[in-house]
Each structure stands twice: as C-alpha cells, then as structure tokens.
Symmetry: C2
Subunit: 250 residues, 2 copies
C-alpha cells in the first residue's frame, strides 16, 4: 500500500491558523496496455494490481473473454507498458471505448440470486472498512466482487473505471464463477459502470453513491438489481427489487 500513497508537504489552514505539515496523497501514474501489439490504450491509474487492470481493461472492452485465451502477460516496468498476448484472434475496440452507448446484453432474469437488506448492510460495512487508501487520502474509489456478505476481490483506484477493471481482470485470471456474485462500489453508477457489470452477467450491484437515470434504465433492461445510497441500514433499490429478499426469507 505504501507504494500507492505519497506524503507531500502542505500548508494546513484551520480557523485562520496556518501550519506546515505533510499530507498523504493518492499516487497517480500513467500505464500503457497493449493487446497482441494491436489494441493499445493509455491509462491514468493507481499503481497497484496493474496486470489485473490490463486484463480487466480488455475484458471490459469485450475483446478478452476467458483465462484460457491469455497466453502471456509481460510487464515492462521501466517503460510502464503491459503487453498481453492471447491465443486466437481478438476483436477491435468496442463502441463503449469510443463513447457510444454499447449494446445491452440479454437480460439475466433467469439468475434468481437474492440478497437481504441485512446482508447488504453487513457487506457494505465490511467493504468500507477495507478501503485503506481512501482512509489515508480521500482520493480513490473502491470496488469489490462479493458473494453474500463476503468479499472475494477488492480493489482501489483513482479512477472508478480502473477500479472495476482491476476486479474483473483478477476474477478472470482466477476463474471465479460470477452467477452468485455481486459488485460493491463506493462510486456513482453511470451507464459505463453498469454496462461492465451487465457484460459479465453479474446480477447485483450495490453502491454507496447515486446512480444516473441511464444507469438505472440499463440495469432495468439488463435484469440487474441496482442498489444505491447503501449506507448503514438504509438503501434505495432502483431496479429488479425482487432480488432483495426480506430478512425472513433468506
């Protein structure tokens, strides 16, 4: 973690008093990710789990689908470039990358996973207590892959899209099945975040923050349960609330 935080000299002002001190600031680095010397992107990100980020980035682009495709991951740390080689042909960048609204996958109504308000409260408490870099710097987003109220994978990044890509990359390389999983996040849920979840057929997303209307509409269309403002024992269910069982049922 110390690699992800930088201590910088600051002038602190409080109620008219000034003092020279230090503050912990989230680090931000540049990373280039390359797939088969063909697809390339430059990212600004936190310096952790970078191989996962690279894999997850191409996974979210829809051009990397399973662990079996990955033949080699090479990290040139000096140049800040991660090269991924896959077996077989991969497609070009998806419309998501180009900013257009991508195709919404088939709805996953068939996934009957449920979660109770009590589990959500317990999960989010667990989730928020994990966010060490946020606690130190206030400058990052957290995302976790969860099962019930357990956290399977946890990541933090200065960018919310990177944070989820890190989770998706790690889960791809670890081959974790997703049918019984949910995503927890500190960040707002806009169309981009929602589409990454939908693409993976993950049936539940829980956020501490607000969704956008397009995020809600896409969740509705994709059959995903979207829970926002999950704070303590309060939460708003924006779509497919049938997955949120009362405590008695679970």
């Amino acid at each position: 973690m110390e690699n992800e935080i930088e201590r910088l000299p600051i002038l602190r002002i409080a109620h008219g008093n000034m003092s020279s001190t230090q503050d912990a600031v989230a680090r931000e680095i540049t990373l280039t990710v390359v797939l088969n010397n063909r697809n390339k992107a430059d990212l600004l990100c936190s310096p952790s789990n970078l191989e996962y980020l690279a894999v997850g980035f191409f996974c979210s682009q829809g051009i990397l689908k399973s662990k079996d495709e990955v033949r080699k991951i090479e990290f040139d740390r000096k140049e800040g470039v991660i090269y991924i080689e896959t077996s077989g042909a991969t497609g070009g960048f998806s419309s998501a990358e180009k900013g257009l609204l991508p195709h919404v996958p088939e709805p996953i109504m068939a996934n009957h996973l449920k979660i109770s308000p009590r589990q959500i409260t317990s999960l989010m408490k667990n989730f928020m207590s994990r966010s060490s870099i946020f606690k130190a710097t206030g400058g990052v987003h957290s995302v976790a892959l969860c099962k019930g109220d357990d956290i399977l994978i946890f990541s933090e990044d200065i960018g919310r899209h990177n944070a989820i890509d890190k989770v998706l990359g790690e889960r791809l390389l670890k081959n974790i099945p997703l049918e019984e999983c949910s995503i927890a996040t500190t960040s707002r849920i806009s169309s981009g975040m929602l589409l990454k979840i939908a693409q993976q057929n993950i049936p539940i997303i829980i956020s501490k923050s607000a969704p956008t209307d397009l995020g809600v509409r896409l969740a509705d269309a994709a059959g995903i349960t979207l829970i926002g403002f999950a704070r303590g024992e309060r939460m708003n269910v924006y779509s497919h609330s049938w997955r949120v069982a009362t405590n008695r049922e679970t």
Copy 2:
C-alpha cells in the same frame, strides 16, 4: 433544471422497513461533438449547457483557442450532435485525449493573484449552495469560475471533465479574462483536471476533495496554487501557498 433530473420509482429500505416511493436521479445522455467535420467525440453527460460543453471540450483539447475562431455552432437536437465550425485550420486531438501525459505549459509564476483563507471559505460556501442537482440527486460534480469570492460561471455534470469543459466553453464564448480568476470544484483533482486549468493559465484551483500526487506535481510545475479539502474554515494548500494571503494582508 427539471430537464436534468428524472424521478424514478424505487424501493426504499430503512432499518428493515420497505416502502415504494420515488427518487430524483441525475439524467445522463449521449452527445456527439464535431469540429469542422474532422474532429469528433462521443460524450456521456448531463443534458445542460451542451453548446458550452462542445466548445469547452475542443478548447480543452487545445484545438479551439478563442471566441473569434468560432464561426458557427449548430445543434442537431434530434440526432444529439453539435457541429462547430471554425475559421482557419485547427489541429488534431492532443495527447491528453489519447491518455498520454500532455505537455505542461510554461509556469505562471508571474501571476501574483492572491486569495485569503476567509475568501476561500466564503467562496466555497457560496459555491456549495449553488449545486441544486447535486442536492436533489447526489450524482453530479460542480465546477465554477470565480473571481475573489464571486461566482462568474457555474456548471454541473455527471462527469467532472464535462463540468469543467462546460465552464471553459462558456467563458470562451463570453470572452471573460482569466488572470484574476480561480476554479472551484467539488471533484478530486487528478492530472487531467489540473492540465485543463494550466492550459488556460488559471492560477488557483480550489477543491472540496482530494488531489492526486500527479495533480499536485503538475500544479507545482505549472505555478498553480492547488487547494484541497476546502471545507468550512479548513483547507490544505498543496502548491504555491504564497498566493494564499493571511486575512490581514488582503
């Protein structure tokens, strides 16, 4: 403002009680911006001040520099496309767009603008009270162009980069000089935000949130005073603190 907010049916859960109600959610739309039928980008954004967003987007790309260059702005509302025509040739997309770390402009040490902690407190109080969509939805970022503790331009958007581009676009079309101005924002300050400020030679940026280390380093190199965590009478000055005068001096 009603155009920027959508009321959606939700299931609200609090302390085990469930109730069907409505929640105000920030709208998110897709917009295509085109410059001289040559440079094109697809944006996801809040549906306000879209002409300003289009102008500000190309301004931040460094390919639109003054109001005089703008010959025509045409908004095809049906297709969601804004066409901007300029006189004279414009450059291609900058490296910022491609995600690489762009060139830091000449430092603006010669700008001797000062601001007092009292002005910052007063400005941020004024600024935060303006954020009507955030208050309703919790889902947007605010950015303002300020002079002393006055707000000259205010914008909100689901994306922090859009929010600042809207401010920069409006200021370009209104020809407001920037030497005595500062930027106030609710959002975190990473390298991308900082570079947009630096490119406009704006000497002071004040945020309610955290900066990244790269944001601080670029502010330092560019001669910009970066103030973070400006909340009430508290704030952290991360770079060029000589511009933050004590109240007695101002």
